[in-house]
Protein backbone atom coordinates (compact mmCIF):
# COMPACT_ATOMS: atom_id res chain seq x y z
CA UNK A 1 0.00 0.00 0.00
CA UNK A 2 0.97 3.63 -0.36
CA UNK A 3 -0.19 7.07 0.73
CA UNK A 4 -0.86 8.17 -2.82
CA UNK A 5 -4.08 9.60 -4.21
CA UNK A 6 -5.02 8.67 -7.79
CA UNK A 7 -7.38 10.82 -9.86
CA UNK A 8 -9.09 9.71 -13.07
CA UNK A 9 -8.78 12.57 -15.55
CA UNK A 10 -11.93 13.26 -17.55
CA UNK A 11 -11.71 15.00 -20.88
CA UNK A 12 -14.26 16.05 -23.41
CA UNK A 13 -13.83 17.48 -26.87
CA UNK A 14 -10.06 17.42 -26.46
CA UNK A 15 -10.02 19.43 -23.22
CA UNK A 16 -9.76 18.42 -19.58
CA UNK A 17 -13.02 18.78 -17.62
CA UNK A 18 -13.06 21.31 -14.76
CA UNK A 19 -13.92 18.58 -12.27
CA UNK A 20 -10.55 16.96 -12.90
CA UNK A 21 -8.82 20.05 -11.50
CA UNK A 22 -11.23 20.07 -8.57
CA UNK A 23 -10.28 16.48 -7.77
CA UNK A 24 -6.56 17.08 -8.32
CA UNK A 25 -6.68 20.00 -5.88
CA UNK A 26 -8.31 17.96 -3.14
CA UNK A 27 -5.99 15.04 -3.92
CA UNK A 28 -3.06 17.38 -3.26
CA UNK A 29 -4.37 18.28 0.21
CA UNK A 30 -4.93 14.65 1.12
CA UNK A 31 -1.63 13.43 -0.30
CA UNK A 32 0.21 16.16 1.61
CA UNK A 33 -1.57 15.18 4.84
CA UNK A 34 -0.67 11.51 4.36
CA UNK A 35 2.80 12.08 2.92
CA UNK A 36 2.03 10.58 -0.49
CA UNK A 37 1.93 11.55 -4.15
CA UNK A 38 -0.81 12.87 -6.40
CA UNK A 39 -1.19 10.63 -9.43
CA UNK A 40 -3.48 11.15 -12.40
CA UNK A 41 -4.64 8.51 -14.87
CA UNK A 42 -5.10 10.10 -18.28
CA UNK A 43 -6.40 7.67 -20.86
CA UNK A 44 -6.48 8.30 -24.58
CA UNK A 45 -5.34 11.92 -24.33
CA UNK A 46 -1.61 11.97 -23.51
CA UNK A 47 -1.34 15.36 -25.18
CA UNK A 48 -3.16 16.93 -22.21
CA UNK A 49 -0.71 15.68 -19.57
CA UNK A 50 1.22 18.94 -19.45
CA UNK A 51 -1.84 20.72 -18.02
CA UNK A 52 -1.90 18.49 -14.95
CA UNK A 53 0.85 20.28 -13.07
CA UNK A 54 -0.68 19.69 -9.68
CA UNK A 55 0.09 15.99 -10.08
CA UNK A 56 3.41 14.43 -9.15
CA UNK A 57 2.99 11.89 -11.91
CA UNK A 58 0.56 11.40 -14.78
CA UNK A 59 0.01 7.85 -16.06
CA UNK A 60 -0.89 7.98 -19.72
CA UNK A 61 -2.15 5.19 -21.94
CA UNK A 62 -2.79 5.22 -25.67
CA UNK A 63 -4.59 2.48 -27.55
CA UNK A 64 -7.25 2.36 -30.28
CA UNK A 65 -9.77 1.19 -27.67
CA UNK A 66 -9.08 4.34 -25.62
CA UNK A 67 -9.61 6.76 -28.50
CA UNK A 68 -13.18 7.25 -27.31
CA UNK A 69 -14.52 6.68 -23.83
CA UNK A 70 -15.24 2.94 -23.58
CA UNK A 71 -16.37 1.88 -20.10
CA UNK A 72 -14.92 -1.62 -20.30
CA UNK A 73 -11.56 -0.42 -21.60
CA UNK A 74 -11.37 2.25 -18.90
CA UNK A 75 -12.26 -0.27 -16.21
CA UNK A 76 -9.54 -2.68 -17.26
CA UNK A 77 -6.83 -0.05 -17.48
CA UNK A 78 -7.79 1.54 -14.17
CA UNK A 79 -7.88 -1.83 -12.45
CA UNK A 80 -4.41 -2.63 -13.73
CA UNK A 81 -3.14 0.73 -12.45
CA UNK A 82 -4.63 0.41 -8.96
CA UNK A 83 -3.43 -3.16 -8.59
CA UNK A 84 0.09 -2.16 -9.57
CA UNK A 85 0.29 1.16 -7.68
CA UNK A 86 -1.98 0.50 -4.69
CA UNK A 87 -3.02 4.09 -4.02
CA UNK A 88 -4.68 4.85 -0.71
CA UNK A 89 -7.53 6.63 -2.42
CA UNK A 90 -8.96 6.86 -5.95
CA UNK A 91 -11.03 9.88 -6.95
CA UNK A 92 -13.52 10.00 -9.83
CA UNK A 93 -16.42 12.33 -10.53
CA UNK A 94 -20.06 11.28 -10.55
CA UNK A 95 -20.34 11.84 -14.30
CA UNK A 96 -20.86 8.88 -16.61
CA UNK A 97 -17.33 7.54 -16.10
CA UNK A 98 -17.80 7.65 -12.32
CA UNK A 99 -21.10 5.79 -12.52
CA UNK A 100 -19.51 3.19 -14.81
CA UNK A 101 -16.30 2.75 -12.89
CA UNK A 102 -16.30 3.68 -9.20
CA UNK A 103 -18.32 0.71 -7.97
CA UNK A 104 -16.52 -1.58 -10.43
CA UNK A 105 -13.19 -0.56 -8.89
CA UNK A 106 -14.69 -1.33 -5.50
CA UNK A 107 -15.52 -4.88 -6.55
CA UNK A 108 -12.46 -5.51 -8.71
CA UNK A 109 -9.94 -4.01 -6.29
CA UNK A 110 -11.75 -4.94 -3.08
CA UNK A 111 -11.98 -1.39 -1.77
CA UNK A 112 -14.89 0.48 -0.23
CA UNK A 113 -16.58 3.04 -2.47
CA UNK A 114 -18.53 6.13 -1.46
CA UNK A 115 -20.99 7.62 -3.98
CA UNK A 116 -22.01 11.29 -4.37
CA UNK A 117 -19.22 12.68 -2.20
CA UNK A 118 -19.30 16.43 -1.49
CA UNK A 119 -16.71 16.62 1.29
CA UNK A 120 -13.46 14.77 1.87
CA UNK A 121 -10.75 15.26 4.47
CA UNK A 122 -7.90 13.34 6.02
CA UNK A 123 -8.61 11.97 9.48
CA UNK A 124 -5.36 10.66 10.86
CA UNK A 125 -4.35 7.72 8.71
CA UNK A 126 -7.79 7.53 7.12
CA UNK A 127 -10.36 9.79 5.53
CA UNK A 128 -13.78 11.11 6.31
CA UNK A 129 -16.11 11.39 3.32
CA UNK A 130 -19.35 13.33 3.37
CA UNK A 131 -21.85 12.16 0.77
CA UNK A 132 -25.26 13.26 -0.39
CA UNK A 133 -28.07 10.77 -0.10
CA UNK A 134 -31.84 10.85 -0.69
CA UNK A 135 -31.64 13.45 -3.43
CA UNK A 136 -29.55 15.79 -1.29
CA UNK A 137 -32.02 15.82 1.61
CA UNK A 138 -29.50 14.16 3.92
CA UNK A 139 -25.75 13.81 4.21
CA UNK A 140 -23.88 10.69 5.25
CA UNK A 141 -20.56 10.80 7.09
CA UNK A 142 -18.49 7.80 6.13
CA UNK A 143 -15.24 6.71 7.78
CA UNK A 144 -12.65 5.25 5.44
CA UNK A 145 -10.17 3.72 7.83
CA UNK A 146 -8.64 1.03 5.64
CA UNK A 147 -5.66 1.21 3.33
CA UNK A 148 -7.66 1.75 0.13
CA UNK A 149 -10.87 3.45 -0.95
CA UNK A 150 -12.70 4.90 -3.94
CA UNK A 151 -14.76 8.11 -3.91
CA UNK A 152 -17.09 9.40 -6.63
CA UNK A 153 -17.24 13.16 -6.12
CA UNK A 154 -19.99 15.53 -7.28
CA UNK A 155 -18.65 18.25 -9.58
CA UNK A 156 -18.39 21.65 -7.91
CA UNK A 157 -17.58 20.27 -4.45
CA UNK A 158 -13.98 21.55 -4.37
CA UNK A 159 -12.30 24.63 -5.86
CA UNK A 160 -10.71 23.99 -9.25
CA UNK A 161 -8.04 26.65 -8.71
CA UNK A 162 -6.27 24.43 -6.17
CA UNK A 163 -5.77 21.82 -8.89
CA UNK A 164 -4.26 24.14 -11.50
CA UNK A 165 -0.51 24.50 -11.38
CA UNK A 166 1.82 25.73 -14.01
CA UNK A 167 4.61 23.20 -14.07
CA UNK A 168 5.12 20.05 -16.06
CA UNK A 169 4.37 16.86 -14.12
CA UNK A 170 6.33 13.66 -14.58
CA UNK A 171 4.69 11.52 -17.22
CA UNK A 172 4.77 7.74 -17.24
CA UNK A 173 3.36 5.97 -20.30
CA UNK A 174 1.63 2.69 -19.55
CA UNK A 175 1.36 -0.16 -22.01
CA UNK A 176 -2.30 -1.09 -21.89
CA UNK A 177 -2.37 -3.45 -24.86
CA UNK A 178 -2.33 -6.64 -22.80
CA UNK A 179 -5.31 -5.75 -20.61
CA UNK A 180 -7.32 -4.45 -23.56
CA UNK A 181 -7.39 -7.78 -25.34
CA UNK A 182 -10.82 -9.27 -25.99
CA UNK A 183 -13.03 -6.33 -25.08
CA UNK A 184 -16.74 -7.09 -25.27
CA UNK A 185 -17.75 -3.43 -25.58
CA UNK A 186 -17.00 -1.18 -28.54
CA UNK A 187 -17.95 2.38 -29.37
CA UNK A 188 -19.71 2.46 -32.72
CA UNK A 189 -20.68 6.09 -33.14
CA UNK A 190 -21.93 9.37 -31.82
CA UNK A 191 -25.65 10.10 -31.95
CA UNK A 192 -26.05 13.68 -33.07
CA UNK A 193 -28.53 15.59 -30.98
CA UNK A 194 -31.43 17.27 -32.70
CA UNK A 195 -30.90 21.01 -32.76
CA UNK A 196 -32.81 22.81 -30.05
CA UNK A 197 -35.48 25.38 -30.85
CA UNK A 198 -34.15 27.94 -28.36
CA UNK A 199 -30.84 28.36 -26.63
CA UNK A 200 -31.81 28.60 -22.95
CA UNK A 201 -28.21 29.38 -21.97
CA UNK A 202 -28.59 32.77 -23.69
CA UNK A 203 -31.71 33.88 -21.82
CA UNK A 204 -31.67 36.48 -19.02
CA UNK A 205 -34.77 35.01 -17.43
CA UNK A 206 -35.77 31.35 -17.25
CA UNK A 207 -39.01 29.89 -15.97
CA UNK A 208 -38.03 26.34 -15.09
CA UNK A 209 -40.55 23.62 -14.36
CA UNK A 210 -40.23 20.31 -12.55
CA UNK A 211 -42.30 17.26 -11.87
CA UNK A 212 -44.42 19.31 -9.48
CA UNK A 213 -46.34 20.49 -12.54
CA UNK A 214 -47.98 17.06 -12.57
CA UNK A 215 -49.16 16.78 -16.17
CA UNK A 216 -48.41 17.91 -19.67
CA UNK A 217 -51.66 19.86 -19.87
CA UNK A 218 -50.78 21.87 -16.80
CA UNK A 219 -47.57 22.98 -18.45
CA UNK A 220 -49.74 25.70 -20.00
CA UNK A 221 -49.88 27.38 -16.60
CA UNK A 222 -46.11 27.82 -16.62
CA UNK A 223 -46.06 28.75 -20.30
CA UNK A 224 -48.34 31.67 -19.57
CA UNK A 225 -45.93 32.92 -16.93
CA UNK A 226 -42.95 32.47 -19.25
CA UNK A 227 -44.78 34.49 -21.91
CA UNK A 228 -45.56 37.26 -19.44
CA UNK A 229 -41.86 37.45 -18.58
CA UNK A 230 -40.70 37.10 -22.16
CA UNK A 231 -38.71 34.08 -21.05
CA UNK A 232 -38.28 30.60 -22.50
CA UNK A 233 -39.51 27.60 -20.56
CA UNK A 234 -36.83 25.31 -19.19
CA UNK A 235 -37.21 22.24 -17.02
CA UNK A 236 -35.82 19.33 -15.06
CA UNK A 237 -34.93 16.00 -16.61
CA UNK A 238 -38.19 14.15 -15.87
CA UNK A 239 -40.01 16.65 -18.11
CA UNK A 240 -37.74 16.13 -21.07
CA UNK A 241 -37.71 12.34 -20.49
CA UNK A 242 -41.52 12.42 -20.68
CA UNK A 243 -41.31 14.37 -23.89
CA UNK A 244 -43.19 17.32 -22.36
CA UNK A 245 -40.28 19.63 -23.17
CA UNK A 246 -37.60 19.32 -25.86
CA UNK A 247 -34.27 17.97 -24.64
CA UNK A 248 -32.63 21.32 -25.39
CA UNK A 249 -34.64 22.83 -22.52
CA UNK A 250 -33.15 20.54 -19.87
CA UNK A 251 -31.11 22.13 -17.12
CA UNK A 252 -28.56 20.04 -15.23
CA UNK A 253 -25.77 17.54 -15.34
CA UNK A 254 -27.03 15.78 -18.46
CA UNK A 255 -28.58 18.91 -19.93
CA UNK A 256 -27.13 22.40 -20.08
CA UNK A 257 -25.63 24.72 -17.48
CA UNK A 258 -27.39 28.08 -17.27
CA UNK A 259 -26.46 31.33 -15.55
CA UNK A 260 -29.47 33.62 -16.12
CA UNK A 261 -30.14 36.81 -14.17
CA UNK A 262 -33.32 35.19 -12.86
CA UNK A 263 -34.14 31.50 -12.49
CA UNK A 264 -37.68 30.84 -11.40
CA UNK A 265 -37.93 27.19 -10.27
CA UNK A 266 -41.45 25.80 -10.08
CA UNK A 267 -42.02 22.35 -8.58
CA UNK A 268 -38.35 21.36 -8.77
CA UNK A 269 -36.92 19.47 -5.78
CA UNK A 270 -33.31 20.50 -6.32
CA UNK A 271 -31.66 17.10 -6.86
CA UNK A 272 -27.86 17.38 -7.11
CA UNK A 273 -27.97 16.64 -10.85
CA UNK A 274 -30.31 19.57 -11.41
CA UNK A 275 -28.48 21.99 -9.13
CA UNK A 276 -25.24 21.30 -10.99
CA UNK A 277 -26.75 23.13 -13.96
CA UNK A 278 -28.20 26.25 -12.31
CA UNK A 279 -26.43 27.02 -9.07
CA UNK A 280 -24.63 30.02 -10.55
CA UNK A 281 -27.79 31.86 -11.60
CA UNK A 282 -27.75 35.44 -10.25
CA UNK A 283 -31.16 35.30 -8.61
CA UNK A 284 -32.98 32.05 -7.89
CA UNK A 285 -36.59 32.12 -6.72
CA UNK A 286 -38.08 28.71 -5.92
CA UNK A 287 -41.65 27.59 -5.46
CA UNK A 288 -42.03 24.18 -3.84
CA UNK A 289 -44.72 22.94 -1.43
CA UNK A 290 -42.10 20.94 0.50
CA UNK A 291 -40.33 23.33 2.89
CA UNK A 292 -37.42 20.87 3.17
CA UNK A 293 -36.80 20.56 -0.56
CA UNK A 294 -33.05 21.01 -1.28
CA UNK A 295 -33.82 23.64 -3.94
CA UNK A 296 -34.25 26.11 -1.06
CA UNK A 297 -30.56 25.70 -0.22
CA UNK A 298 -29.54 27.20 -3.55
CA UNK A 299 -32.45 29.62 -3.95
CA UNK A 300 -32.21 33.21 -2.74
CA UNK A 301 -35.94 33.47 -2.17
CA UNK A 302 -38.47 30.73 -1.68
CA UNK A 303 -42.11 30.04 -1.17
CA UNK A 304 -44.10 26.97 -0.18
CA UNK A 305 -47.27 28.28 -1.79
CA UNK A 306 -48.70 25.77 -4.29
CA UNK A 307 -47.46 26.64 -7.76
CA UNK A 308 -51.00 26.42 -9.12
CA UNK A 309 -52.06 29.15 -6.68
CA UNK A 310 -48.95 31.26 -7.16
CA UNK A 311 -48.50 31.31 -10.91
CA UNK A 312 -51.91 32.82 -11.81
CA UNK A 313 -51.27 35.56 -9.24
CA UNK A 314 -47.92 36.27 -10.86
CA UNK A 315 -49.39 36.31 -14.35
CA UNK A 316 -52.15 38.67 -13.21
CA UNK A 317 -49.55 41.14 -11.97
CA UNK A 318 -47.19 40.83 -14.91
CA UNK A 319 -49.71 41.04 -17.72
CA UNK A 320 -50.85 44.59 -18.32
Amino acid sequence: MSNDVLVLAEHQGGALCTVTFELAGRARELADAWGGQVQVALLGASNLAGQLGSADVVFTAEHPALADYNPEAYERVLLSIVHARTPRLVLLSTATAGLDLSAALSVGWDAPVVSSVVGLSAEGEGALATAQIYGGKLLAEVELAGSRAVCAVIAGSFPAAAGRRDRPPAVEAIDAAAVLDGLRTSVTGVVTAEAGDVDITAADVLVSVGRGIGSRDDLEVAEELADALGAPLAGSRPLTDQGWLPKSRQVGKSGVTVKPKLYLALGISGAPEHVEGMRDAELVIACNTDAKAPIFDVAHYGTTVDLFDLVPELVKRLKP
Partner: protein, 256 residues
Protein backbone atom coordinates in the same frame (compact mmCIF):
# COMPACT_ATOMS: atom_id res chain seq x y z
CA UNK B 1 -33.85 -13.38 -25.22
CA UNK B 2 -34.37 -13.10 -21.48
CA UNK B 3 -34.24 -9.73 -19.78
CA UNK B 4 -34.05 -9.47 -15.99
CA UNK B 5 -35.09 -6.25 -14.27
CA UNK B 6 -34.12 -5.86 -10.60
CA UNK B 7 -36.39 -3.29 -8.95
CA UNK B 8 -35.99 -1.61 -5.62
CA UNK B 9 -38.15 0.39 -3.24
CA UNK B 10 -36.78 3.67 -1.93
CA UNK B 11 -38.21 6.13 0.59
CA UNK B 12 -40.23 8.83 -1.13
CA UNK B 13 -37.91 11.80 -0.79
CA UNK B 14 -40.80 14.23 -0.96
CA UNK B 15 -41.65 13.05 2.58
CA UNK B 16 -39.94 14.28 5.72
CA UNK B 17 -37.04 11.99 6.49
CA UNK B 18 -36.58 11.51 10.24
CA UNK B 19 -33.53 9.73 11.59
CA UNK B 20 -33.42 6.70 13.88
CA UNK B 21 -32.19 7.16 17.46
CA UNK B 22 -28.62 6.12 16.58
CA UNK B 23 -28.63 8.44 13.57
CA UNK B 24 -27.39 5.89 11.05
CA UNK B 25 -30.62 5.28 9.14
CA UNK B 26 -33.86 7.00 8.26
CA UNK B 27 -36.75 6.04 10.48
CA UNK B 28 -38.65 3.71 8.19
CA UNK B 29 -41.69 3.15 10.36
CA UNK B 30 -43.95 5.82 8.89
CA UNK B 31 -42.14 6.32 5.60
CA UNK B 32 -43.81 6.03 2.24
CA UNK B 33 -41.89 3.83 -0.19
CA UNK B 34 -41.94 4.17 -3.96
CA UNK B 35 -40.26 2.24 -6.77
CA UNK B 36 -36.89 3.73 -7.65
CA UNK B 37 -37.74 6.03 -10.57
CA UNK B 38 -34.83 4.77 -12.66
CA UNK B 39 -35.95 1.15 -12.15
CA UNK B 40 -39.30 2.20 -13.67
CA UNK B 41 -37.34 3.42 -16.67
CA UNK B 42 -35.40 0.13 -16.84
CA UNK B 43 -38.66 -1.83 -16.77
CA UNK B 44 -40.10 0.31 -19.55
CA UNK B 45 -37.04 -0.23 -21.73
CA UNK B 46 -37.23 -4.00 -21.06
CA UNK B 47 -40.89 -4.02 -22.10
CA UNK B 48 -39.97 -2.13 -25.29
CA UNK B 49 -37.34 -4.81 -26.03
CA UNK B 50 -39.98 -7.45 -25.42
CA UNK B 51 -42.31 -5.76 -27.88
CA UNK B 52 -39.70 -5.39 -30.58
CA UNK B 53 -37.90 -8.72 -30.29
CA UNK B 54 -40.08 -11.03 -28.24
CA UNK B 55 -37.93 -11.18 -25.11
CA UNK B 56 -39.18 -12.60 -21.83
CA UNK B 57 -39.08 -10.06 -19.01
CA UNK B 58 -38.54 -11.14 -15.41
CA UNK B 59 -38.71 -8.61 -12.59
CA UNK B 60 -36.99 -9.37 -9.31
CA UNK B 61 -37.18 -7.54 -6.02
CA UNK B 62 -35.93 -8.05 -2.50
CA UNK B 63 -38.56 -8.33 0.21
CA UNK B 64 -38.85 -4.66 1.14
CA UNK B 65 -41.79 -2.45 2.13
CA UNK B 66 -44.40 -2.25 -0.66
CA UNK B 67 -42.30 -4.33 -3.05
CA UNK B 68 -45.40 -6.41 -3.92
CA UNK B 69 -46.94 -3.32 -5.41
CA UNK B 70 -43.92 -2.86 -7.66
CA UNK B 71 -43.85 -6.52 -8.68
CA UNK B 72 -47.58 -6.77 -9.42
CA UNK B 73 -47.40 -3.42 -11.17
CA UNK B 74 -44.69 -4.85 -13.43
CA UNK B 75 -46.77 -7.96 -14.16
CA UNK B 76 -49.74 -5.76 -15.03
CA UNK B 77 -47.55 -3.79 -17.42
CA UNK B 78 -46.48 -6.94 -19.25
CA UNK B 79 -43.61 -8.60 -17.38
CA UNK B 80 -43.74 -12.37 -17.75
CA UNK B 81 -42.61 -13.34 -14.25
CA UNK B 82 -42.03 -11.67 -10.93
CA UNK B 83 -39.71 -13.01 -8.26
CA UNK B 84 -39.36 -11.88 -4.65
CA UNK B 85 -36.21 -12.81 -2.78
CA UNK B 86 -37.26 -13.22 0.83
CA UNK B 87 -35.38 -13.19 4.12
CA UNK B 88 -33.21 -10.17 3.49
CA UNK B 89 -33.99 -8.40 6.77
CA UNK B 90 -35.03 -4.84 7.42
CA UNK B 91 -33.49 -1.41 7.17
CA UNK B 92 -31.01 0.00 4.68
CA UNK B 93 -29.29 -2.70 2.68
CA UNK B 94 -25.88 -1.78 1.27
CA UNK B 95 -25.56 -2.03 -2.51
CA UNK B 96 -22.70 -4.50 -1.98
CA UNK B 97 -24.99 -6.90 -0.13
CA UNK B 98 -27.92 -6.30 -2.48
CA UNK B 99 -25.74 -7.05 -5.49
CA UNK B 100 -24.30 -10.19 -3.85
CA UNK B 101 -27.81 -11.52 -3.16
CA UNK B 102 -28.95 -10.78 -6.70
CA UNK B 103 -25.77 -12.20 -8.24
CA UNK B 104 -26.30 -15.47 -6.38
CA UNK B 105 -29.89 -15.69 -7.66
CA UNK B 106 -28.93 -14.70 -11.20
CA UNK B 107 -26.34 -17.47 -11.36
CA UNK B 108 -29.16 -20.01 -11.33
CA UNK B 109 -31.47 -18.12 -13.69
CA UNK B 110 -29.83 -17.75 -17.08
CA UNK B 111 -30.31 -14.42 -18.84
CA UNK B 112 -29.13 -12.27 -21.72
CA UNK B 113 -29.58 -8.80 -20.30
CA UNK B 114 -29.93 -7.29 -16.86
CA UNK B 115 -31.54 -3.85 -16.94
CA UNK B 116 -31.81 -1.84 -13.77
CA UNK B 117 -31.93 1.82 -12.77
CA UNK B 118 -28.71 3.79 -13.21
CA UNK B 119 -28.87 4.82 -9.55
CA UNK B 120 -31.21 5.06 -6.59
CA UNK B 121 -31.84 7.76 -4.02
CA UNK B 122 -30.31 5.67 -1.23
CA UNK B 123 -27.11 4.63 -3.04
CA UNK B 124 -24.16 5.22 -0.78
CA UNK B 125 -21.76 2.40 -1.67
CA UNK B 126 -22.09 2.34 -5.43
CA UNK B 127 -24.82 1.72 -7.98
CA UNK B 128 -26.44 -1.66 -8.41
CA UNK B 129 -25.90 -2.00 -12.17
CA UNK B 130 -22.17 -1.44 -11.83
CA UNK B 131 -21.79 -3.57 -8.71
CA UNK B 132 -23.69 -6.43 -10.35
CA UNK B 133 -21.81 -6.20 -13.63
CA UNK B 134 -18.46 -6.24 -11.85
CA UNK B 135 -19.47 -9.07 -9.54
CA UNK B 136 -20.72 -11.20 -12.42
CA UNK B 137 -17.63 -10.38 -14.49
CA UNK B 138 -19.87 -9.02 -17.26
CA UNK B 139 -19.59 -5.90 -19.38
CA UNK B 140 -21.76 -3.14 -17.93
CA UNK B 141 -22.78 0.28 -19.17
CA UNK B 142 -24.46 3.04 -17.17
CA UNK B 143 -26.45 6.17 -18.01
CA UNK B 144 -28.14 4.39 -20.90
CA UNK B 145 -31.11 5.83 -22.79
CA UNK B 146 -31.85 3.02 -25.24
CA UNK B 147 -31.11 -0.70 -25.64
CA UNK B 148 -31.72 -2.70 -28.81
CA UNK B 149 -31.01 -6.40 -28.50
CA UNK B 150 -29.73 -8.08 -31.63
CA UNK B 151 -28.95 -11.77 -31.27
CA UNK B 152 -25.86 -12.20 -29.13
CA UNK B 153 -25.17 -8.48 -28.83
CA UNK B 154 -26.96 -5.29 -27.87
CA UNK B 155 -26.75 -1.82 -29.29
CA UNK B 156 -26.77 0.67 -26.44
CA UNK B 157 -27.01 4.45 -26.29
CA UNK B 158 -25.00 5.95 -23.46
CA UNK B 159 -25.15 9.57 -22.34
CA UNK B 160 -21.91 11.33 -21.61
CA UNK B 161 -21.55 14.77 -20.06
CA UNK B 162 -23.48 17.68 -21.50
CA UNK B 163 -25.99 15.50 -23.33
CA UNK B 164 -23.56 13.88 -25.79
CA UNK B 165 -24.90 10.45 -26.66
CA UNK B 166 -22.70 7.67 -28.01
CA UNK B 167 -23.66 4.31 -29.41
CA UNK B 168 -21.93 1.19 -28.18
CA UNK B 169 -22.12 -2.46 -29.13
CA UNK B 170 -21.85 -4.91 -26.26
CA UNK B 171 -21.68 -8.70 -26.27
CA UNK B 172 -24.35 -10.44 -24.19
CA UNK B 173 -24.86 -11.18 -21.42
CA UNK B 174 -24.42 -7.64 -20.13
CA UNK B 175 -25.70 -5.41 -17.34
CA UNK B 176 -27.17 -2.00 -18.18
CA UNK B 177 -27.84 0.94 -15.85
CA UNK B 178 -30.82 2.68 -17.41
CA UNK B 179 -31.15 6.44 -17.10
CA UNK B 180 -34.26 6.81 -19.24
CA UNK B 181 -36.29 4.51 -21.45
CA UNK B 182 -36.86 5.33 -25.12
CA UNK B 183 -40.39 6.40 -24.15
CA UNK B 184 -42.09 7.53 -20.96
CA UNK B 185 -42.97 4.61 -18.65
CA UNK B 186 -46.43 3.25 -19.45
CA UNK B 187 -49.27 3.83 -17.09
CA UNK B 188 -51.21 0.95 -15.63
CA UNK B 189 -54.52 1.29 -13.84
CA UNK B 190 -55.14 0.13 -10.30
CA UNK B 191 -57.74 -2.33 -11.58
CA UNK B 192 -55.15 -3.97 -13.85
CA UNK B 193 -52.76 -4.26 -10.91
CA UNK B 194 -55.56 -5.85 -8.87
CA UNK B 195 -56.14 -8.32 -11.69
CA UNK B 196 -52.47 -9.20 -11.70
CA UNK B 197 -52.63 -9.66 -7.94
CA UNK B 198 -55.47 -12.15 -8.34
CA UNK B 199 -54.10 -14.16 -11.24
CA UNK B 200 -50.35 -13.78 -11.50
CA UNK B 201 -48.38 -15.15 -8.59
CA UNK B 202 -45.18 -13.56 -7.37
CA UNK B 203 -42.70 -16.38 -6.91
CA UNK B 204 -41.02 -16.30 -3.50
CA UNK B 205 -37.45 -17.53 -3.37
CA UNK B 206 -35.26 -17.51 -0.26
CA UNK B 207 -32.45 -14.98 -0.65
CA UNK B 208 -28.93 -16.37 -0.63
CA UNK B 209 -26.98 -15.73 2.55
CA UNK B 210 -24.50 -13.57 0.70
CA UNK B 211 -22.06 -11.36 2.50
CA UNK B 212 -21.25 -8.04 0.88
CA UNK B 213 -20.01 -5.56 3.42
CA UNK B 214 -19.45 -1.96 2.40
CA UNK B 215 -15.95 -1.93 3.89
CA UNK B 216 -16.60 1.45 5.50
CA UNK B 217 -18.25 2.67 8.69
CA UNK B 218 -21.26 4.93 8.35
CA UNK B 219 -20.74 7.34 11.23
CA UNK B 220 -24.06 9.12 10.96
CA UNK B 221 -26.65 10.66 8.69
CA UNK B 222 -27.42 14.31 9.17
CA UNK B 223 -29.45 17.08 7.65
CA UNK B 224 -27.22 19.32 5.54
CA UNK B 225 -26.03 22.36 7.41
CA UNK B 226 -27.84 25.26 5.81
CA UNK B 227 -24.86 27.44 4.94
CA UNK B 228 -27.22 29.35 2.76
CA UNK B 229 -30.95 29.08 2.74
CA UNK B 230 -33.58 30.92 0.77
CA UNK B 231 -35.33 33.76 2.48
CA UNK B 232 -38.85 32.37 2.68
CA UNK B 233 -41.60 34.67 1.47
CA UNK B 234 -44.54 34.60 3.87
CA UNK B 235 -48.23 35.11 3.20
CA UNK B 236 -50.85 33.88 0.77
CA UNK B 237 -50.41 33.47 -2.99
CA UNK B 238 -51.28 37.12 -3.67
CA UNK B 239 -48.79 38.52 -1.16
CA UNK B 240 -46.02 36.17 -2.26
CA UNK B 241 -46.66 37.03 -5.92
CA UNK B 242 -46.47 40.72 -5.03
CA UNK B 243 -43.04 40.21 -3.40
CA UNK B 244 -41.73 38.18 -6.32
CA UNK B 245 -42.82 40.81 -8.83
CA UNK B 246 -41.03 43.46 -6.71
CA UNK B 247 -37.85 41.34 -6.75
CA UNK B 248 -38.02 40.91 -10.51
CA UNK B 249 -38.70 44.61 -11.00
CA UNK B 250 -35.76 45.54 -8.78
CA UNK B 251 -33.51 43.52 -11.10
CA UNK B 252 -34.91 45.40 -14.07
CA UNK B 253 -36.26 42.24 -15.62
CA UNK B 254 -39.91 43.12 -16.17
CA UNK B 255 -40.45 43.37 -19.91
CA UNK B 256 -42.05 46.43 -21.52
Amino acid sequence: MKVIVPVKQVPDVVEDLELTADGTDVDREFLKFVVNEFDEQALEEALCIKESSGAAVVVVGLDEPDVDQALYGALAKGADRAVKLVGTGEGWLPGHRRSAILAAWLAGEGYDLVLTGVQAADDLDGQLATLLGARLGLPHISVVVRVDAEGSAARVRQELAGGTVVEEAVALPAVIGVQAARQAPRYVSISRIRQAQQSGAVEEVPAATADGATGFRLRRLLAPERTSHAEMLRGGPGEVAERIVELIRAKGLIPG
